[in-house]
């Protein structure tokens, strides 16, 4: 677990075989953890490279641990065509929006920097994304899709919901994780059940780490 978390040592997966997880949850999460082996099906070729670069900007991940395969998680969702039950009328359907959006990002990048989005450095990528977020771009590759809307209604919700549905993300933010049949008993401030993560207060990192290793 990396240094940018207050919950070092905590791994929600350690609880997999405790009463906090039931059979159906284990099956669901096991399946999610196979995403690392997923081969792109919808965002393929150039789009795949753009998507991966985009993911590193939206959710930068620490280098000292295996990364959550965010691009793969999104591509799996696109392959299954799992929508949200509503769509802003100005946006095309899920897959099409992503196809156009990734393509347009690359086009914007080539237009402005002469290189594909994946070949930009971090700063340039982030810069470009800020322009997209604020609707300050107009490459014909957007094909009428409002860039800002794509960013706020597709990029952010889709990527953030995929990342924070991953157990590694739960460990990072100190979320208790799955909780059935065992829920919680200690409900008031600053109390944790023994199966919840310990937050490291300044100066107590080592103790918190030790206790987190024991959380079950």
């Amino acid at each position: 677990m990396s240094a940018d978390t207050r919950y070092r040592g905590y791994d929600v997966l350690d609880k997999r075989d405790t009463p906090s997880w039931d059979a159906v949850t284990r099956a669901v999460i096991d399946e999610r953890l196979t995403a690392a082996d997923h081969l792109p099906q919808v965002a393929t070729g150039a789009a795949w490279r753009v998507l991966r670069a985009l993911c590193t900007c939206i959710v930068p991940q620490p280098a000292d641990r295996p990364a959550v395969p965010l691009a793969a998680l999104l591509d799996r969702r696109l392959a299954a065509n799992r929508g949200d039950g509503f769509r802003d009328a100005r946006l095309p359907p899920l897959r099409e929006a992503w196809r156009i959006g990734l393509d347009a990002l690359d086009a914007e990048s080539r237009h402005g920097h002469g290189r594909g989005f994946a070949d930009l450095d971090d700063e340039a990528r982030i810069d470009l994304l800020h322009r997209v977020q604020h609707g300050a771009c107009a490459d014909p590759a957007w094909r009428g899709m409002p860039p800002a809307l794509f960013f706020s209604h597709r990029v952010l919700p889709d990527l953030l919901s995929a990342y924070y549905a991953h157990p590694q993300a739960w460990s990072e933010i100190g979320f208790g994780g799955p909780a059935n049949p065992r829920g919680y008993v200690r409900m008031v401030a600053n109390r944790r059940d023994p199966w919840e993560p310990v937050e490291a207060r300044p100066g107590e990192e080592a103790r918190a780490y030790r206790e987190n290793r024991r959380v079950r």
Binding site: P181, V185, R186, N190, R192, P194, W195, E211
Partner: protein
């Protein structure tokens, strides 16, 4: 605020509680005693010791678990389980002691328990009053329980009564300036009513969802009434009171069986003990009825002896 609980301490707390309760249960059933054949006051005193021990066992289990839930945030929270354990030991000792003298250490322990009970009631009251909602149903249900420290107070009180009764110089032992049977009957009667109050509060919280939940709020008050009546009315044989108290003694153990089943019925059942022992019906609570019934029966005997 760095206090956190771990599984180890959780297990230790629960184990201590369960062991204490088992010991107390064993004691309360034990009739044979060391030493010579006892006089009635000594027999009554020993019954009170056993009663106090059982009550203390219940308090020990309950406070060890509940204070563990509260992560022993305040060091004072260690005192009640400690005191309850001492009362349990004192009761074990006194329950087997046939000598008609008071015992200084036991006496001190009982006094300490009573003081702890009083202080605990204060702490718990403070806990209730500082929470949003202050004096409200909600805080009575879910903040620190008022009944718990009072049970320790009662356990100490019963122990002290035992010491006084066995120490009697006259043929008829006296307590607080009254005939001991009467005084003890009043104390136990009040204790029974208080305990009923707590059961009523918690079973109201549980919406009396099971029919059996009305038993501990109906039977003990009847027994208490009969006992109080026996205590103040002219001494005579009281078969009804005796039977009611015997039923209450049974009820305590029955209650524990019901609570065991209640825990099993919750999501995850006993496999999910680390949650359900806390969130389910409190296992150690019902035997406090048995404990009081034991002392009540002793009071009745003392009273009947005068007839």
């Amino acid at each position: 605020m760095g206090t956190h609980s771990g599984h180890g301490r959780l297990g230790a707390g629960v184990t201590a509680g369960v062991a204490g309760l088992a010991l107390a249960a064993w004691l309360s059933g034990r009739r044979a005693a060391r030493g010579t054949a006892s006089t009635e006051p000594v027999r009554a005193a020993r019954a009170c010791h056993r009663s106090s021990a059982l009550l203390a066992g219940s308090v020990l289990a309950d406070s060890a678990m509940e204070h563990e839930r509260g992560a022993y945030a305040n060091p004072a929270m260690y005192v009640p389980p400690l005191m309850a354990a001492l009362v349990l030991l004192a009761g074990a000792h006194g329950g087997g002691d046939a000598r008609p003298q008071r015992h200084r250490v036991r006496h001190a322990v009982y006094g300490g328990a009573m003081a702890t009970g009083v202080a605990g009631t204060g702490f718990h009251l403070y806990n209730i009053l500082k929470r949003p909602g202050r004096w409200s149903w909600h805080n009575l249900f879910h903040a620190a329980p008022l009944g718990a420290p009072m049970a320790l107070l009662l356990a100490g009180g019963l122990g002290l009564a035992a010491e006084r009764v066995r120490h009697g110089r006259t043929r008829v032992p006296r307590l607080l300036g009254r005939p001991a049977g009467q005084a003890l009957g009043l104390l136990v009667g009040a204790g029974l009513l208080g305990t009923t109050g707590e059961a009523a509060l918690l079973h109201f919280r549980g919406a009396f969802q099971h029919r059996a939940m009305v038993l501990p709020v109906s039977l003990p008050p009847l027994a208490a009434a009969a006992l109080l009546h026996a205590a103040v009315a002219p001494p005579t044989r009281r078969p009804l009171a005796r039977w009611l108290l015997r039923l209450v003694r049974l009820l305590g153990w029955l209650g524990m069986a019901f609570h065991t089943r209640g825990i099993a019925r919750r999501q995850g059942g006993w496999r999910n003990w680390s949650q359900n022992l806390f969130a389910g019906p409190p296992l150690p609570a019902p035997p406090s009825f048995s404990a009081l019934a034991v002392a009540g029966l002793a009071a009745l005997r003392l009273r009947e002896k005068r007839a």
